[in-house]
Amino acid sequence: MARITAGITSSHVPAIGAAVDLGNTQDDYWKPAFAGFDWTKEWIAKPENKPDVVILVYNDHASAFDMNLIPTFAIGCADEFQPADEGWGPRPVPVVKNHADLAWHIAQSCILDEFDMTIINKMDVDHGLTVPLSLMFGQPDAWPCKIIPLAVNVVTYPPPSGNRCYNLGKAIRDAVESFPEDLKVQVWGTGGMSHQLQGTRAGLINAEWDKKFLDDLTADPERLRKMPHIEYLREAGSEGIELVMWLIMRGALGKDVRELHRHYHVAASNTALGHIVLEPKE
């Protein structure tokens, strides 16, 4: 049977992708941001940790979804997805290959479990999805695993609540565990941490709040499930709301987890970069 073997969170700042694509990861500005991923790159390359499939939770930044269509939860079910042209040409990264059988299975299972998923086939994937892949896998000719895109609306209000996201994670876990193929599946939550990309408050960073969020992602997700949107906005900036997506990852891991690795760095462009690797305890 398929099983959830680990959860990873990571920022998906577009400038990180540009640094990888332009070969700037070792310059003074970027070196400390990338150094925190060395551990994970080594860990994930080991056969016992390497996922067969990653369910990659991210938000589309007005690339596949414009103002005509705003799905709260959309799961990519096609066989493959091309990198999006976000205004400066597509990133030079591999095509994203899906595990379509598992994606369709998760879609069906979650809908039956009362999560009204949007199923999407034709979709280009933007930096929200491709930057975490670059951080974890570098620059291979092909991504080393299958990837199921799960896009969450965190742009047009209201986004889903943290509790809804956590519960969707639980439903995804049930779906994965009822899939007959023997697969190691990871769930990644991306975006965050504190950042604000607008107005006179732009550049807001709340390291204390971010660190407590990381602590509780491991130890007290019940507190995070109850956190209202307004707290994310006040404490972590208007774009800090992306952190609700991390709770999908956390919900999929079950009650108790072990924290394997953590990295926190200010600043990557406008953003506090947060990264954590968790594995289920049972």
């Binding site: 400038a15 103002m67 400066w88 607008q198 107005g199 732009a202 550049g203 807001l204």
Partner: protein, 135 residues
């Protein structure tokens, strides 16, 4: 856990220097944002850069105020007029500008000053969480 939608939305106006992208803003900015999406195609970027005013003429549903703000790259004004930063990113990316460069223009700081603030830990949330409570 059910929240009252009116109270939910009203709280957003209490955050200093922030325009949350509510449905009211999304409706107001629909054509600005759809215009921005058109710049995801290289042929459109070329036509836009060659003659911005002529390209804007193809968008009759946009207000003149929105068009003027686009021509001026006044991102702060565009947010007031219903633009969203992820859509507007197509405009500044077409100009070869990064998020950091575009975002800094809304802060009253130079790009260099803003970049240095970010490198030294970013903007503190102290006093910027709530207008009413001032914390």
């Amino acid at each position: 856990m059910k929240q009252n939608i009116h109270e939910y939305l009203a709280e957003f106006d209490d955050i200093p220097g922030t325009r949350v992208y509510t449905t009211a803003r999304a409706r107001k900015g629909y054509w600005v944002n759809q215009f921005a999406m058109s710049l995801m195609k290289d042929e459109n970027r070329k036509r836009w850069l060659a003659d911005e005013k002529a390209y804007l003429d193809e968008w009759p549903n946009m207000t003149q105020e929105q068009k003027d703000a686009l021509l001026a790259r006044d991102y702060d004004k565009l947010l007031d007029l219903g633009g969203n930063i992820y859509f507007l990113a197509k405009v500044f990316s077409t100009d070869g500008k990064s998020y950091l460069q575009a975002v800094s223009t809304m802060t009253g700081m130079s790009v260099e000053e803003y970049r240095n603030m970010m490198l030294s830990g970013g903007r503190s949330p102290e006093g910027l969480r709530s207008k009413k409570k001032g914390y």
